[in-house]
């Protein structure tokens, strides 16, 4: 933005020394280049080009998992890409440079035009050119009417036009479409509003996700430590988190049992109870496309799934693990994968990984999940692969959704290596007196996204204004029309010409139309006489 001051400086300083002159001239030349239409055009195309890599290379901000996988798969390219910021294209300095230059160019282009426009608003339409017939769209005709009458009729016809007051007495100069330029200016200025609002959102906003179990005894309080994942802008501070908490009392989905969508769900509805700050508890039906707004924070329902309640007893009969265990859906019918870790079981650590079938049916001797609707739970099945020994928890932090089996041994209910298949309420003994595992109940969970995008209203206002301005600048025709009538050889010569200042207009039609009405009006009068 420092370039903005260059022209001002020049005005303020009266004395010019030769050496400086060059520098100033260079600055002025640079400024003029930057604010030229051609530069705007090139910057626009450059911006489009610069946005491309971010759509082809996985972005950290969009899908960090994918970006990491990409990094692992391309070890030679990764360091180069890292240097160029290609995993974060939209926040790199070079991307910012393009749009900031565009904005500077925009401001430099728009301010002078605003001034010109302000003057034009007050000005009269320009005087009628001497040679109207030289204009691309013009026509002439000869009539016996008095010039004054023709001009009076023309003034009447040119409704909606601004008409020059001090014309030369033998012509009319009219102009319309002043709002076109206003629309154009509004459009471009609104783009600046949008950019500032968008930048505010990305600097101060955040977006986090958390899985919350359905039920009275669970819930979420808006603190950093409670989030499963959290991304924020660089100027975000943890104090910006709004103070609220909520519980999910109930969750319902409608399962389709017939038609092409059979087996899938719709109509998700979470009954939640929330308290914001010190206010009273309120309830809300949280649904897809119907976020809950608390203060300036929005809460969204993103996904749902099952959490089988699993209890593991160890060889000594103590409870080594117990509770609802979040299983992550692997497909639309909620066949889900999950992990159980009981590192304090004795005599050996015990772990399980496996699938949860909400509604299992056996097809060709293989278990198949028929749908996501658990119904009364009579077809729910948990199929767990057991492990004993070292779960490798000392090696460092592990995901709760993954089991490290590299140092553990598989254990099976019998010699054939099958998994432990449990129906609701069943318990299976582990081999060698290691204990038991039971499937006690099923609970549900919701994945909720919580985000704050400051400035979003301003962004919306900005684009809406931009659209209004754009419509004005594209569809308001800006046009000048001149009519001259004077005596030539005892008759009246009428010349009509028009100039379209907006491009795309059909001025020829305007000219012939006006000529026809003026002559037509006269013939009509003649008949009346």
């Amino acid at each position: 933005m420092s370039t903005t001051s260059a022209p001002d400086q020049e005005k303020n300083e009266g004395v010019r020394r030769p050496g400086e002159l060059n520098a100033r001239e260079l600055a002025r030349w640079g400024w003029r280049q930057l604010t030229s239409m051609r530069t705007a055009l090139i910057l626009l195309l450059l911006l489009a080009l610069a946005a491309v890599p971010g759509s082809l290379i996985p972005q950290d901000g969009v899908d960090s998992l994918k970006a990491d996988q990409w990094r692992e798969a391309h070890t030679t390219l990764t360091p180069i890409y890292e240097k160029l910021g290609l995993f974060n294209v939209y926040s790199t300095p070079w991307f910012a440079a393009i749009y900031l230059l565009l904005m500077v160019s925009l401001v430099g282009c728009i301010i002078p035009r605003c001034l010109v426009y302000a003057r034009a608003m007050r000005a009269q339409p320009p005087a009628t050119p001497a040679k109207l017939t030289r204009l691309p769209d013009s026509t002439t005709y000869v009539t016996d009417e008095e010039p004054a009458e023709v001009l009076a009729a023309a003034r009447k016809q040119l409704r909606g036009y601004r008409i020059r007051k001090d014309d030369d007495g033998e012509s009319v100069s009219a102009e319309k479409g002043y709002l076109r330029e206003a629309g154009n200016l509004i459009f471009h200025m609104s783009l600046i509003i949008v950019l500032v609002a968008f930048a505010t959102g990305s600097l101060f906003g955040y977006k986090g996700g958390v899985i919350v179990l359905v039920g009275e005894e669970y819930g979420f309080a808006n603190e950093l430590s409670q989030y499963d994942d959290f991304k924020s802008g660089s100027l975000f501070a943890p104090e910006d988190l709004d103070d609220f908490s909520f519980k999910i009392d109930d969750f319902k989905a409608e399962w389709l049992s017939t038609g092409a969508g059979a087996g899938t769900a719709r109509g998700f509805n979470s009954k939640i109870r929330y308290t914001a700050g010190s206010s009273d508890e309120k309830t809300y039906d949280l649904r897809v496309n119907h976020p809950l707004t608390i203060g300036s924070t929005d809460v969204f329902l993103l996904a749902h799934g099952y959490a089988p309640v699993i209890t593991v007893r160890d060889g000594e009969g103590n409870v080594a693990y117990s509770g609802p265990t979040i299983f992550l859906p692997q497909s639309q019918n909620l066949l889900s994968f999950g992990v159980v870790k009981a590192p304090y079981a004795s005599p050996e650590e015990i772990g399980f990984q496996g699938l949860f079938y909400p509604f299992e049916g056996t097809v060709d001797g293989e278990p198949v999940n028929l749908m996501g609707d658990i119904g009364d739970g009579s077809h729910a099945m948990l199929s767990l692969q057991g492990f004993r020994g070292d779960l490798n928890l000392d090696a460092g932090p592990q995901s709760v959704y993954a089991l490290d089996t590299s140092k553990a041994n598989m254990m099976s209910p019998d010699e054939t290596g099958k998994a432990f298949n449990l129906r609701l309420g069943e318990t299976a003994e582990l081999p060698d007196g290691l204990g038991s595992v039971s499937f006690d109940d099923v609970q549900q969970w919701n994945r909720v996204q919580i985000s704050k995008s400051p400035g979003k209203e301003w962004a919306l206002l900005g684009v809406s204004l931009a659209l209004v301005g754009l419509l004005g600048s594209l569809f308001i025709r800006s046009r000048r029309v001149w009519v001259r009538a004077r005596r030539v050889d005892g008759r009246t010569l009428v010349e009509i010409a028009a100039l379209d200042r907006s491009g795309g207009g059909d001025t020829a039609a305007v000219v012939t139309g006006l000529a026809e009405t003026l002559r037509g009006a006269r013939t009509q009068e003649e008949k009346d006489v």
Partner: protein
């Protein structure tokens, strides 16, 4: 009518529309070739008369045979328009049928097949609607050829049985967003056809094949007008209703998702087109090229991103399953 009947009706209507479009295309080609022979005849005449005869003499057919030919050409032109209108009506029936076949009833753009038939409907319907106003009859073979090919590709390559919308797609903001996107896509395509024709005419001004096409100024103006209509619609669809819906469905109004990035790129390129046209040096040819780059980004977004990018949340199917985990052999039994 049952959902199934609606589905069958939709499929039959799309076939009927395809066949009638094809007949309309044949008529348009007959008209086109009549103009072509007229242009050739004019050239021949000019050679007979000798150099220096004004070219626009061709506009007035001088012998009776030419007059008959002229009449026949005009007849086929009208026939082509009539058939196109009928095909557009069938096309509309197909769209309505698609929406009625779903339970619950819905808008007909839940997947690529439906988006494609809706988009090509807009191209053809806009052509019929603007036919008189912008004098578009010269465009018939282009529009019809395009529509026939796209419909064929849709039916052969993209067809999917009717299915309900996934929950996130079930929003009236989505309806508004997609209507705007489809209308703008149809408009940009029509504008792009005018721009391609402009470039061809500029390159081969005397080609008999292009005799039916209006002059360059006219083409440039038609192209600009269609683009000027489509650009605000695109702005509304991509930068207003799209972000509003994204905010409701995903929790942030702009995610730099590949689909959004390309919609933005398209927007910027077309803004470039409008600038290019306003700047004296870039009128005509260069502006037409920018418009075609815009069209390429638009279609790439529709076709390319759906096939090549898996990070896009705009997959028309369900949201991707979270974290697919590999199971050790035999986990399930």
């Amino acid at each position: 009518m049952s959902d199934h009947t609606w589905g069958v009706l939709s499929n039959q209507a799309i076939t009927a529309a395809g066949v009638v479009y094809f007949l309309a295309l044949l008529c348009a080609l007959v008209e086109w070739s009549a103009w072509q022979s007229r242009a050739r005849a004019a050239v021949a005449e000019k050679e007979l008369v000798g150099a220096g005869a004004p070219a626009d003499e061709a506009d007035a057919p001088t012998n009776p045979a030419a007059a008959v030919r002229e009449q026949r050409a005009a007849l086929f032109g009208r026939l082509s328009l009539l058939l196109t209108a009928i095909a557009v009506a069938c096309h509309l029936v197909a769209l309505v049928g698609r929406g009625m076949a779903a339970d619950p009833n819905r808008v007909p753009w839940g997947n690529m097949y439906e988006f494609t038939i809706s988009g090509s409907f807009v191209v053809a319907a806009a052509y019929v609607a603007l036919h008189r106003r912008l004098k578009l009859s010269w465009m018939a073979p282009w529009v019809l050829g395009f529509t026939v090919v796209v419909l064929m590709l849709a039916v052969v390559g993209l067809y999917e049985p009717v299915a309900p919308l996934t929950e996130a797609l079930n929003s009236y903001w989505l309806v508004i967003h997609v209507i705007a996107a489809i209308i703008a896509t149809g408009g940009f395509t029509l504008g792009g056809i005018a721009s391609v024709t402009y470039l061809l005419k500029a390159r081969f001004p005397d080609a008999a094949l292009l005799a039916r096409v209006p002059d360059l100024d006219n083409l440039d103006r038609v192209s600009y007008r269609i683009h000027a209509f489509a650009f605000p619609v695109w702005t509304f669809g991509v930068l207003i209703s799209g972000p509003i819906w994204a905010h409701e469905a995903w929790g942030s109004y702009w995610n730099w998702d590949p689909k959004e990035v390309w919609a933005f790129i398209t927007w910027v390129v077309y803004a470039g087109y409008l600038h290019a046209r306003a700047t004296a040096g870039w009128k005509g040819k260069k502006a037409a090229i920018v418009a075609l780059i815009g069209l390429a980004t638009l279609w790439f977004n529709f076709i390319g991103i759906n096939y090549f990018s898996s990070t896009s949340q705009h997959s028309y199917a369900a949201p991707a399953a979270p974290a697919v985990v590999e199971l050790t052999e035999g986990a399930s039994r």
